[in-house]
Amino acid sequence: MSDTMTALAARTEGASKIYGTGDTEVRALDDVTVGFNQGAFTAIMGPSGSGKSTLMHTMAGLDPLTKGNTFIGDVELSSLSEKELTLLRREKVGFIFQAFNLIPTLSALENITLPMDLAKGQADDAWVENVIQTVGLGDRKSHRPDELSGGQQQRVAVARALASKPQIIFADEPTGNLDSRTGGEILDFMRSAVRELGQTIVMVTHDAVAASYSDRVVFLADGKIVDEMLDPTADAVFDHIKSLGD
């Protein structure tokens, strides 16, 4: 791991996650220590079963570690109660999932402000409006999810993640369900959120092209970090994956 001068938005120390016991034991994460810089766009890559989703879930406080620690900012997650974890997610973490990101009964705008509503906090209206304009949903605010295209739905999801100005956003295959053009738009937008708004994003993907939008790619295999790449290009990432496979 290279030392960085910038602060870390989230990190793990010796994180291990073991499912099952005895013969059926699976080490989804094996002593992983990694940090994610504030204001950076990081991609986590790896083949199926490499532990990339587990890493994201444990870092986001959705799944507890078997051993080791994870931090959001300075907050160590294993010391938090279920309720404190929920509140932390609500205030400090944003999520973008592959599919089913939106509540079908709420309008686009209501979906975007949902975390703030749940916190009964006052949304920063100017900021929310800014985010909505940026993702290009100005004329779609009052539409229900089933009245939006897949790309539009995913843009609402991104807007929701950004709206509460979280410390870190976790994205799980955010373009997995989209065609490449629409996916490219979303990734562009995520990158500009990092560059222009200083947002921190960690994205799990198996798509080399998607990974090429990031500042840094972390490669996982068998629950361990095997390599990383700064300022990746799609070809470089693709070649690297191939070399890992050899």
Binding site: A60, R89, F100, L114, P115, D117, L118
Partner: protein, 840 residues
């Protein structure tokens, strides 16, 4: 396919359980109704054939028609007939009341409290001495063991006994006995026994008997003996064979049992009807959830018929299993039912509770049929699912189109309302066809409600959801939109509550209207200050002592007997024409209460019916066969307290068998304080604890509380429908939580706390149940109003709407909603976020 269905059931045990409960409850009730009535019937039948087993013949002197009793002479003559081995003359005088050490008396308004003569003839009379001595001297008496146990009595002590004919007399308690040779066969009747001659005089039998029991030698020709006995008697007397005696005895019981069973089965039907909607809704939701799976089945080659059959098989299994459980529980339910009715004052004999094959067949038929019918539409929908659904991302069952729904619902509503109106206002030959038409009308109307109610979901939920969305924060807001998400599901879930509360509201409104009408009528017509009732006749001397009180002003007594007027059997009442106008305001609009005898005052409607006017003559045939003429002296309009035909007390002995007064009304003397008058009245009546003294307010209260008691029983049964509604809500919510797993997981991931999650489910439940309640209460108000209007005005004049109670129903729905949400809310809160969001 069958294997798949079975596996589906095993994998969804909770769903299976919740669907079954409704059927189980319905079947339980059906079985209980049969078992209880069969049990009563057989216990009673056994009892009566047991009681009369030794009797070969019974002589029933026609006491009904003129106070004739069988004399001692008859008894001797009968005993002398060849072949007669045993004769017993029996006295059975109702309203013979013992007063215990505390001054308490047995309940005189329930089963008979009868005075009997101690014959010592156990073969024919079945009274068995348990303790002490049989009454032998004129001052002795004996009590049956139940009365002895329930009151404060000690053997050897002296107690007052009151009889209709003999007034109050002191007797010494010498013995305790039981009715029944081996077991207690009294079924609630109470007995006070005296030595034979004492009984004859004290109970007013004038040296005679009410009944003669005869045993005949097996070798003798019974028909011949019967003919000989009959030859000795007056032609109006009946000589009954043993069988006829049992029949006579059980006939009265059957006439009570039949309607009782019908009422119980009606409630059972209501429960099953409500259950049907629950089952239908559950199956519809489940098929909606399995749409991709069913589509896949179609895609790999299953035919529509196979899919339909698999749904039917599941329904069949649900129906069978729940019916079997229901039959088992029905046996327990029967005990509960008896306990419930006994807690309301009924008295049942102990006996076996038989499960007749007929009960099982009926229960199976009803339970399985209701379940299959409920699954009919969902199965059809399942069969019509296209294989394409397997491939779609978000597939869901289409809701029935609004236009079609409105059309079908509207037609059903028209038929339902039409049939109900016909039932209410049409003319029928008897009550049964009217009730059937009414019942069909109500059923169709409720189905129409179920079909149409999804249309009401959106506007009504917007209304009741508004305060919840405003107060409940984001959870409230989301609950509101969840409730409108699938109007068909919301309405389907609420419909059980709608029907239950519609019925409860209807009954409540009719009851309230009845109460208002009765109390209005009574308070305007009864101007007397006090009313004194006896279970039977007022004891001798009571009237005179009340009249003698200086604190009491006017007194009027009421009596009467059956007579025949214009070919119809009627009740002819006597009252004091001199004082009645001061005590009862019957709204005399023509003529006067003409004293001096020979005059009759009629209820105007009755007079019009018979074409009688003031000055006309009315011919009355007494039960003794005498013809009397009365001249019409007045007509009145208000028959709340008075009967149709009234003559002056001075005419009483001319037509009545026994000139006893049953009721006395009185007013306080001028210038006497009400409490003084009441105290004086109470002190004079104190020796007669069986009398009920009421002032006007107490009388009204009593009347109202009788109506309330009846309503309470009805509402307990209808409450079961509300219980099923609760189960229905639990069911739908549980399925919805399951269906929305991913959505709920997402909510948790973006920061919804468990508490907010629980709150959201709870609010949705409250919205659904309040929706059902609002609809149900509204329907109930309409039904209640229509029925009150249809009932003749002299029973229910104007519909009364007890607003507080109706508000309580809505509040109760909130509670139902909260209760129903407990388990589903907990499940929703406990969802594992990872399981919920990780892509499948």
């Amino acid at each position: 396919m069958l294997k798949m269905t079975l596996r589906g059931i095993l994998n969804n045990k909770i769903r299976f359980f919740l669907t079954s409960i409704a059927v189980v409850l319905g079947v339980t009730f059906v079985v209980s109704a049969f078992v209880v009535t069969d049990g009563l019937r057989s216990t009673f039948g056994d009892l009566s054939s047991d009681i009369y087993s030794a009797r070969d013949l019974t002589v029933m002197p026609d006491g009904d028609k003129g106070g004739v009793f069988a004399s001692e002479e008859y008894l001797d003559q009968i005993a002398a007939i060849d072949g007669v081995t045993n004769v017993s003359g029996q006295i059975f005088a109702n309203q013979t009341i013992p007063v215990d050490a505390n001054g308490d008396v047995p309940d005189v308004f329930g089963p008979p409290v009868a005075g009997i003569n101690w014959t010592g003839n156990t073969e024919l009379d079945r009274f068995v001495l348990l303790e002490g001595e049989a009454p032998a001297s004129p001052t002795d008496f004996a009590l049956d063991v139940n009365t002895f146990d329930e009151g404060a009595y000690t053997l050897g002590e002296t107690y007052s006994v009151i009889s209709e004919a003999g007034g109050i007399r002191e007797f010494t308690l010498t013995g305790i006995f039981r009715f029944g040779l081996e077991t207690d066969d009294s079924i609630g009747a109470k007995f006070v026994a005296f030595e034979n001659e004492t009984a004859q005089s004290f109970l007013g039998r004038d040296g005679g008997y009410d009944e003669i029991a005869i045993a005949v030698d097996d070798a003798a020709n019974i028909d011949e003996v019967q003919a000989q006995v009959a030859g000795l008697l007056a032609s109006t007397d009946d000589v009954l064979s043993g069988e006829e005696t049992v029949e006579e005895f059980t006939e009265g019981f059957d006439s009570f049992l039949g309607p009782f069973r019908t009422i119980l089965l009606t409630f059972a039907f209501v429960i099953l009807f409500v259950s049907a909607f629950l089952i239908n809704n559950t199956f519809t939701i489940v098929i909606g959830q399995r749409i991709r799976e069913l589509g896949l089945l179609r895609a790999i080659g299953a035919g529509g018929g196979q899919v339909r059959r698999s749904v039917f098989t599941e329904a069949l299994i649900v129906g069978l299993v729940s019916t079997l459980i229901g039959i088992g529980l029905g046996l327990l339910g029967a005990r509960a039912l008896i306990a419930l009715l006994e807690s309301q004052g009924a008295d049942f004999p102990d006996g076996p509770l038989p499960l007749e094959p007929r009960t099982i067949v009926f229960a199976l038929l009803v339970g399985v049929l209701v379940t299959l019918l409920s699954a009919l539409l969902p199965a059809r929908r399942a069969a019509s699912i296209s294989p394409m659904e397997a491939l779609r991302e978000n597939s869901s069952l289409d809701e029935t189109r609004t236009g079609r729904r409105t059309l079908i619902g509207g037609l059903l509503a028209l038929v339902g309302i039409g049939a109900t109106a016909l039932g209410l206002f049409g003319s029928f030959d008897g009550t049964a066809p009217r009730l059937i038409v009414l019942g069909v009308g109500a059923v169709v109307a409720f189905i129409a409600v179920a079909v149409l109610s999804p249309l009401a979901v959106s506007p009504v939920v917007r209304l009741i959801g508004a305060p919840i969305a405003a107060l409940g924060g984001p959870a409230g807001k989301m609950a509101k939109s969840n409730a409108t998400r699938s109007p068909q599901r919301t309405a389907g879930t609420a419909v059980a509550l709608t029907i239950g509360l519609a019925l409860v509201t209807t009954v409540t409104i009719i009851g309230a209207s009845l109460k208002t009408t009765v109390s209005d009528a009574l308070s305007s017509s009864v101007t007397a200050d006090y009313i004194v009732f006896a279970g039977g006749a007022l004891p001798a001397g009571v009237v005179q002592s009340v009249e003698a009180l200086p604190e009491i002003g006017k007194v009027a007594t009421f009596g009467g007997d059956r007579v025949t007027i214009n070919g119809e059997e009627e009740s002819l009442d006597t009252l004091d024409f001199a004082t009645i106008d001061d005590l009862i305001d019957a709204d005399l609009t023509e003529g006067a209460w003409e004293t001096g005898g020979g005059n009759m005052v009629l209820y105007r409607e009755k007079a019009d019916e018979l074409g009688l006017a003031v000055g006309d003559t009315v011919g009355v045939e007494t039960l003794a066969g005498e013809m009397l003429d009365f001249s019409v002296s007045g007509l009145f309009d208000d028959n709340t307290f008075l009967g149709s035909f009234n003559v002056d007390t001075v005419d009483y002995e001319r037509f009545a068998r026994v000139a006893d007064f049953t009721t006395l009304v009185a007013s306080g003397a001028d210038g006497t304080m009400p409490e003084d008058a009441r105290a004086a009245l109470d002190s004079v009546l104190e020796p007669f604890p069986q009398l009920t003294v009421q002032d006007q307010a107490e009388f009204l209260d009593e009347t109202e509380s009788q109506i309330n008691q009846l309503l309470a029983i009805v509402n307990v049964f209808l409450g079961l429908a509300v219980l099923i509604a609760l189960i229905g809500i639990v069911n739908t919510l549980t399925l919805s939580v399951f269906e929305r797993t991913r959505e709920l997981g997402l909510l948790r991931a973006v920061g919804m706390t468990r508490r907010q999650m629980r709150r959201m489910v709870r609010w949705e439940s409250v919205i659904v149940s309040v929706f059902g309640a609002v609809l149900g209460v509204s329907l109930g108000v309409v039904f209640g109003w229509a029925i009150s209007d249809a009932i003749p005005d002299d029973i229910v004049a104007n519909a009364t709407f007890p607003l507080t109670q109706l508000a309580v129903f809505i509040l109760a729905a909130v509670v139902v909603g909260l209760l129903a949400a407990i388990m589903p809310a907990r499940r929703a809160a406990k969802l594992n976020i990872l399981d919920a969001i990780s892509h499948s």
